[in-house]
Amino acid sequence: MAESKYLTEHYGKPEYQTLEGYKKLGGYQVLEKALKMQPQQIIDEVKASGLRGRGGAGFATGVKWGFLPNNGEPRYLLCNADESEPGTFKDRLMMERAPHQLIEGMIISAFAIKAKKAYIYIRGEYTGPAAILEKAIAEAKAAGYIGKNVLGSGFDMELDLYIGAGAYICGEETGMISSLEGLKGQPKLKPPFPAVQGYLRKPTIVNNVETLAAVTYVIRDGAAGFRKYGTEKSAGTKLFSISGNVNKPGTYEVPLGYKLMDLINIECGGLKPGRKLKAVVPGGSSAPVINAEECERATLDYECLAQMGTMLGSGAIIVIDDSNCMVDVLSTITHFYHHESCGQCTPCREGTGWMEKIVHGIVHGEGKPGDLDLLLKIADNMKGRTICALSDAAALPVLSFVTKFRDEFEYFIREKKSKVRGGQIYAQMHA
């Protein structure tokens, strides 16, 4: 699929990390083009391109930008580089290999939405990428791409890096805004949406790293050019982070609509010899799991996966073969959400705790009849009842794992051991 790459075309070249190398390979030329356009033209082009948010929600980027009120208030652009959805590591690759790609996309986007101040919010653990970004921002400033009167266009723009300190919830846009304000990273009720009242209650657009970088290619090729790849409702290419039981895990850029099994078998070199595919989590840990039969039919676009009752999410694909115990896999997921719940809303704070406790019990051979129905009931009660989507995100894997792999859960409760590996799984060997 080499011909259908724009984001990762030059990722194999180490010089692409530097300003000089990036420019030699065509970098910052699109910025020059964009600065000669009207901001509204750029917004219209992004709208027409069908670019959707690459962070997880898949909301139309141009439509989001269109929510900004025209009230003369200062506007902010906030890049979501918190990348914490389990299974996701694509933004890290971009920030490491092509920091200027993100910066160019951010300057174009800030110009389009008339934001004079932009922040990149990067998760605290990403100290390596943060250092690379700080250097790249300094290079871009020195070269006049950031600062007063960008390339003589009359547009002023500042860009700074803000670092988090370990909290999944800061990837939620209003949680991120709270964190940027120096508070606990707790989400805020919407409406008002950040585009209307965000950082310091000023209009703020929050976009993912990959989304902002893709804007550059929308402007370079035009909306029609961008739509050359992908489907009607899922335009362009996307980065997929693939991990788990494949021979070549990693980040791959493929057109949206690409077949999941092709990605697994061609790009990732398939499964280990003798292993059979059991399940795939297709869009980060929050996305409902699909079984092997569903994988055969799955294409990597927003609409196909939604139709299957799951989601494309951040493009994080976790491949699970038949050597894994689904009860054990779910136990790390329920632990994650309990640990990461911010504690504001009762259904989430309590629900994640109870779900973890019940799954933990089952995986340690203490499951009781009725546990599965109780799990499903708790999960069902957590949906749509909280300030942010973490509660739903915690409920969905539980509902899908228990429903689709119920026989493994029932076996575990009945026999007090896993159905796979003759029961030799972590919880029982190291209890």
């Binding site: 605290g124 653990e125 803000y162 370990g166 120096g182 788990g244 990693g250 054990d328 997921i333």
Partner: protein
């Protein structure tokens, strides 16, 4: 009593004016103070930052306690944070943590080894699932694509390194 170094004070003063509000400087200043305090945020650290930053201690404490990367208890020289979520969990992150802890002489996570060198935490997804299992020591670059043998060797190497100094 904890006090920031002269360089640390300069750093904090600079951060206070870096963002739109001085509250936004709390995270970076907490990192700095944690580093200067041997890897953890004590009540004295919060008190001192509160005075230097002229921000109520309660506000600094709420940030320090909300985010996992601020250690509220003493840790060893090497705070070994092993990812155990989903992919890392599937590919041996938990087994590897147990083996490293045994080698280091830690009975449970959060406990520092008798030689004061190691504290282990099982942490949530670090965004490096293609190189699972993996870990991060303090805030240093990730150590990736591990096996139990490599991880145990890492403990031995770090111990040897610490003794050499």
């Amino acid at each position: 009593m904890f006090k920031l170094s002269e360089d640390g004070l300069k750093y904090v003063k600079n951060e206070l004016t870096r963002y739109e509000t001085k509250q936004s400087a709390i995270i970076r200043c907490l990192y700095r103070a944690q580093d200067e305090n041997g890897g953890w945020v004590s009540p004295e650290v919060i008190q001192h930052l509160s005075e230097v930053m002229e921000i109520p201690a309660a506000q600094i404490e709420e940030v320090a306690t909300f985010y996992t990367m601020f250690n509220k208890q003493k840790v060893g020289r090497y705070h070994v944070q092993v990812c155990c979520t989903l992919t890392c969990g599937m590919l041996g992150g938990r087994e590897l943590t147990d083996a490293m802890m045994k080698e280091a002489g830690c009975k449970k996570t959060g406990e520092t080894s008798p030689d004061g060198l190691f504290t282990f935490s099982k942490v949530e997804c670090l965004g490096s699932c293609d190189t699972a299992p993996m870990l991060q020591i303090n805030r240093d670059p990730y150590i990736e694509s591990l096996s139990t043998e490599k991880a145990v060797q890492l403990v031995r190497d770090l111990r040897a390194k610490a003794k050499g100094h």
